[in-house]
């Protein structure tokens, strides 16, 4: 193991470090180990996305390719609608299997 040799003075770091730089590293980088306390990494990813949303408008977020809420039924009426449509189609399909001939094949 080498002893660290002299390092240049810190740049934009320590107490003054930009929060984005720190979060980028401690949340997104570093070794991932499942400890005894299981933190769903999805939660953390969600959080970083939320962080970006806190500071970015929805349009900006979309521009950045962040659009998870659009497919999350809890957050988007369109996703809810899509889910209903899919559920309806599934139910229709199952009914048709049970009693062919009585349920119209056509989905909306």
């Amino acid at each position: 193991m080498t002893t660290p040799s002299r390092l240049p003075d810190p740049y934009g770091q320590g107490q003054s470090a930009n929060l984005a730089d720190i979060l980028e590293r401690v949340l997104d980088k570093g070794v991932v180990i499942a400890g005894d306390i299981r933190i769903n990494l999805l939660d953390i990813e969600l959080l970083t996305i939320k962080l970006r949303l806190v500071v970015a408008s929805v349009d900006k977020a979309k521009e950045m390719g962040i659009d998870w809420w659009e497919s999350d039924p809890a957050l988007s009426s369109r996703a809810r609608q899509d889910e209903l449509t899919r559920e309806n189609a599934e139910l229709r399909e199952r009914l048709r299997e049970l009693d062919p001939g009585r349920v119209p094949r056509e989905a909306p």
Partner: protein, 270 residues
């Protein structure tokens, strides 16, 4: 009060003292937990704040997150001053010391490989920003005479948009060249997603966000070459250097987790 173990980093055993008065995420000083040829750097944290449920709530709280992230980074930073740590992701928590030891034991070989690879290196962050509104410079028509005709107006518009295009082209060339030359000095490099200026508070648009794994011995040289490039005549383009960081961006890859093995062959079924 029940306490849990928060792990900041794993490293090789070392003698050098950590800076006095260093405190961890809940105010508890970091301690060394040696096991075999490895040391985990841990501190005690209250279960009330770090149980699954509490964490889930806290992680949604920007103030709590900011404080915890800074404290985490501060400990990792103090380690970086004396040794090459392998930094763990925020909020890696175990029930007790023996849980931490079991983890060290299980991952001994992988940790060893990664620590060998990173040995003696630090990470430097380099970002390139393009100032959002380039002074409509370069336009030969100085503080613009009023366009005499529609044709003049169009010509001025064209020149302005050409100046903007020029800036983007120059910025791209600059960033590519910078990245290439810095990669030569570095052991390894990573390109990260650009930062949103509204989160980073940096002016302009971030076009390059890179991390370089650089040996301590050549860090000075590395910093000088960034400075040199930054001072080049590049109006509208700004270079930002941060570091030295622990090798966060290079800690993951070979850590022999089963997931990583799969990641290496994305196309093949396991």
């Amino acid at each position: 009060m029940t306490t849990l173990r928060y792990v900041y980093a794993v490293c090789r055993p070392f003698e050098a003292p950590l800076q006095a008065q260093l405190t961890g995420v809940s105010g508890d000083p970091p301690r060394l937990l040696p096991h075999g040829d490895l040391v985990a750097v841990v501190s005690h944290v209250p279960e009330a704040d770090f149980s699954e449920q509490a964490l889930r709530g806290h992680l949604e709280d920007l103030d709590w997150l900011t404080g915890t992230a800074r404290a985490h980074q501060q400990v990792v930073d103090a380690l970086t001053a004396v040794i090459t740590p392998l930094p763990l992701r925020l909020a890696t928590v175990f029930r007790d010391d023996s849980g931490v030891r079991v983890m060290l034991e299980e991952r001994e070989a992988a940790f060893g490989r990664t620590l060998d690879r990173l040995d003696g290196c630090v990470e430097w962050g380099v970002k390139v920003h393009v100032e959002a509104e380039p002074e409509p410079a370069a336009a030969p028509a100085a503080p613009g005479p009023k366009p005499a005709s529609g044709r003049d107006y169009l010509r001025q518009r064209r020149q302005q948009s050409r100046a903007k295009d020029d800036l983007w082209t120059r910025a791209e060339e600059f960033a590519t060249g910078l990245h290439r030359s810095l990669s030569d000095t570095a052991e390894d490099a990573r390109l990260h997603a650009p930062q949103d200026p509204r989160l980073s508070g940096a002016a302009g648009r971030n076009v390059l966000n890179a991390a370089y794994l650089v040996h301590r011995d050549v860090s000075e040289e590395f910093v000088e070459s960034v400075d040199r490039r930054a001072k080049d005549d590049t109006p509208g383009i700004r270079v930002e250097l941060t570091g030295p960081w622990a090798a966060y961006s290079f800690a993951g890859e070979e850590d022999a987790g089963e997931e990583d093995v799969k990641d290496k062959n994305p196309g093949e079924a396991p």
